[in-house]
C-alpha cells in the first residue's frame, strides 16, 4: 500500500463521509458537503477520480453494483488503511492548527495596542 503524504480537502471529506459506514456515490457527495459546511462540493468527475485512486491505494473498497429506485449504484467503504490515513491527516492538520494558533496568540499579546 502507498500511504499518501497529504489528503486534499475533497479527498479528506470524501473519505470522512465513509466513517459511519458505506455510502453510494451521490451519498458521498451529500455527506461531504454536510461535513464541510458546504465548502466541499464534489463534482461527479472529481468524486470518481478520487474514488478510483483511493481504491488503487487500498483506502476504500467498492461493493457490487445494484439498482435502487431505478438508479445504478455501488457502495464504497473505508478500509482500515483508509481510516488510518484519515486519522494521520486529521492529526497533521490539528498539529499544524495548534502551532499556528499558539503563534497567533503569542503575537497578539506582544503586539502594540
Amino acid at each position: 500500500m502507498v500511504m499518501p503524504m497529504e489528503l486534499r480537502p475533497p479527498s479528506y471529506f470524501a473519505l470522512a463521509s465513509l466513517i459511519d459506514g458505506p455510502l453510494h456515490g451521490y451519498g458521498i457527495v451529500r455527506r461531504a458537503r454536510e461535513l464541510s459546511d458546504g465548502r466541499v462540493r464534489l463534482s461527479t468527475g472529481t468524486l470518481y477520480a478520487l474514488l478510483e485512486r483511493a481504491i488503487g491505494e487500498e483506502l476504500v473498497t467498492a461493493g457490487e453494483p445494484y439498482v435502487q429506485g431505478g438508479r445504478q449504484r455501488r457502495d464504497y467503504a473505508l478500509t482500515p488503511a483508509g481510516r488510518l490515513a484519515l486519522e494521520l491527516e486529521t492529526e497533521r492538520m490539528a498539529s499544524a492548527a495548534r502551532v499556528v494558533s499558539a503563534r497567533l496568540r503569542a503575537s497578539a499579546r506582544t503586539a502594540p495596542a
Binding site: P4, R8, V29, T44, Y48
Partner: protein
Amino acid sequence: MIPGGLARAALRCYPPATRTARGAEMLDTLLEASGGRRGVFVWNVVSLVAAGLGERARASARLSAGRTIAEAAKLASVLYACLWLTAGFVVLIERRGWHHGSAVSLYVVGLLIVLLAWSQGRQRLAGVIGLAGTVAVALVVARRPDFLLPVSIVQPILPAFGYLIMAIAPRRERPSTVAVGALAALVVVSVLAGANTGGFGQLIVLAAVSIAGLAVFAVQPRLAIAVAIIWTAIGIGLIAFAGTQPAPWKLLIAAAPAVLAATAARARLIRRRAI
C-alpha cells in the same frame, strides 16, 4: 441534445474499460447530483470530461517506456503506410499508362490491406504484409532509386521496425471505425494536396498530423512520438542524402529524442500528483 445524451457523450472521454465498469453508475450519480439544475449539470459534465481525459493520461503514463515506444513505432509504421499509399496513388494518377504501373498498383493494394488489417485489430497480419511489402520496396529502390520519387522523403527501414513489432508482439485492439475514417481522410487529403506538388502535400499532411499529435500529447503521447519518429527519419535522410539542404531542416533529427524526453517528463509529472 437531452441532458442524458450530453452526459453520455462526456463519458466517452473515459477509457472504454472504465465506461463499461462504472459508466451507468457515474451517469446516474451525475443526474442525481445535478437535480435538474442547469448550472450544476454543466459543471458536472465539464468535470466528467476533465476527469475522463485525466484518467486516459494516467493510463498512458503507467505504460513502460519500452511499451510506449513500441506502440508509437507501430503507429509510425501505419502513418508511413498512409504516406506510401498516397505516393502510390499520386504516381498512378500522374504517370497513367506507365510501364511500372502494375507493380505500383500491387503495392498500393498491399498497403490498403495493411491499413485495413491494422484498423480491424489484426496487427499480426498487418505486420507480416507490411514487412513483405517493405522488403519488396527496398529491393526495388536499391536497384532504381528514382522508381518511386515522391516517396523518397521516407525511408523503407523505419516502418519495418514497427511492422516487426506488430508481427511478433501484436496487441489485441477492437476494430475501430474512427481509425478507418481518420486514415481514409489522411490519404484522400494527402493525395489531393500532393497530386501536383511533387510530394510536398505529404509534408503538409504530416505537419497537420503533428499538430494533432501535439494537441492530444497531454492525454496520449503516442501520436506525437509516432510523427516525431517520421520527422527524425526525414532529418536522417536529409543529412545522409541531401547535403545541400539548409541546416535548420537537419534539426528535424532531434524531433524524436525531444518528444521522448517530453513524454518521460510528462509521465513523471502525472505519477507525482497527490491524491
